[in-house]
């Protein structure tokens, strides 16, 4: 019955909007996840636009990314001058985890339970590795004297440290949330929760969230490290 209504609706676009089913042809949860992510985009956009305004206000004294992030923040490697290498590795971790996440979603379409688990585990590990890298990066910068309330010799401007820790911190919090949710998802999948439900839409919903984390990083990376 529902299928017949839907089929009819597909043919006449008008009746698609007359109730009884989603005119967008996707589940309620996915639509709401998208709208949550759009609202979250505005929070990040506010941060990054504030960054732009403060940077323009001090454009002549703004520190250079290649100088502030000039070395790999690992003991023993930090004397080598390898600008941007470490943060590029972090970017790469997120891109790879985005790929494994979308593969988990696709395994979910096939109802392949262990396929989903197989791709969720590297996703979680990449997330954890990203957080570990952020820990190293932060301790290194704090050690150099850049904190939310003080500028280091390299940065000179206090705003740089403030914006850096607030924006990457807020992004890191999102990664942490994603890691926790993905772990729950992985355990639930192993327990056969979604097999009972009959579909793996939850993997897709949390996948959207995880890709969003990657997407925000593209802009954080752009603003702090590349421009």
């Amino acid at each position: 019955m529902a299928d017949a209504t839907l089929h009819h609706a597909e043919e006449t676009d008008k009746s698609l909007w007359e109730g009884g089913h989603s005119p967008f042809r996707i589940g309620y949860g996915k639509v709401m996840m998208w709208y949550f992510l759009i609202s979250d985009t505005f929070t990040f956009a506010s941060f990054l636009i504030a960054y732009a305004a403060l940077r323009f206000a001090q454009s002549d004294a703004w520190p250079k990314a290649a100088e502030v992030f000039s070395s790999v923040p690992i003991h023993g490697l930090d004397t080598l001058k390898l600008p941007l290498v470490f943060v590029s590795f972090m970017t790469f971790l997120l891109i790879v985890s985005s790929y494994t996440m979308v593969r988990a979603v696709q395994e979910g379409y096939l109802m392949n339970k262990w396929g989903v688990v197989k791709f969720l585990i590297p996703t979680i590990l990449c997330g954890v590795a990203f957080l570990g890298c952020q820990y190293l990066e932060w301790t290194h910068l704090i050690h150099e004297g850049m904190t939310p309330t003080h500028a280091s010799e390299l940065t000179k401007i206090m705003n740089f440290g403030q914006l850096f820790f607030v924006i990457t911190g807020f992004h890191g919090l999102h990664v942490l949330g994603g890691v926790v949710l993905n772990t729950w998802l992985c355990v639930s999948t192993m327990n056969g929760r979604f097999e009972k439900v009959g579909h793996y839409e939850m993997v897709e919903k949390l996948g959207l969230y995880w890709h969003f984390v990657d997407l925000v990083w593209v802009y954080v990376f752009l603003c702090f490290y590349l421009l």
């Binding site: 089913h21 989603s22 005119p23 967008f24 042809r25 996707i26 589940g27 309620y28 996915k30 639509v31 998208w34 709208y35 759009i38 505005f42 956009a45 636009i49 504030a50 732009a52 305004a53 403060l54 940077r55 323009f56 206000a57 001090q58 454009s59 002549d60 250079k64 990314a65 600008p83 941007l84 590029s88 970017t91 790469f92 891109i95 790879v96 985005s98 790929y99 979308v102 593969r103 696709q106 979910g108 379409y109 096939l110 109802m111 401007i157 929760r193 439900v197 579909h199 793996y200 839409e201 939850m202 897709e204 959207l208 890709h211 990657d214 997407l215 593209v218 752009l222 590349l226 421009l227």
Partner: protein, 124 residues
């Protein structure tokens, strides 16, 4: 939370659809990696070649901004599946971002104005 509600949408694939989707995301991850490596290469190369000189910075910034938009297009389009959704859903997700266009213009102009008035304001 009730997981038993009927869910609409295309949640089950056959082998053929799976094969197509798998190829698509593999292509996307390669594009994303290449663009990222290119970006970092340009950033480091610029720093090595131009150093403190700082000329042509606007061109580098333009390339970086375009590369980021390309990355976002592929992440949203393929990974988040937006490319394959209904037209009105795509618009409902993307149109709100048009508000940001004015926000970016307004606040960068504002920032430049603070810069011009630094002597007067002395607030930083």
């Amino acid at each position: 939370m009730n997981f038993d509600e009927p869910v609409q949408g295309h949640l089950h694939w056959n082998e053929e659809e799976y094969g197509v989707g798998r190829k698509e995301v593999l292509k996307t991850i390669i594009i994303l990696s290449v663009v990222t490596v290119g970006e970092v290469g340009i950033a480091i190369g610029y720093d090595l070649l131009m150093g403190d000189n700082g000329g042509m910075k606007w061109l580098i910034n333009l390339i970086m901004a375009v590369a980021s938009v390309v990355k976002v297009y592929f992440i949203m389009g393929t990974f988040m599946h937006l490319k394959h959704e209904k037209k009105w859903f795509i618009l409902s997700a993307l149109l709100p971002f048009s508000f940001l266009i004015w926000a970016i213009i307004a606040f960068t102009v504002e920032g430049a104005s603070w810069h011009a008035m630094r002597g007067l304001l002395n607030m930083f």
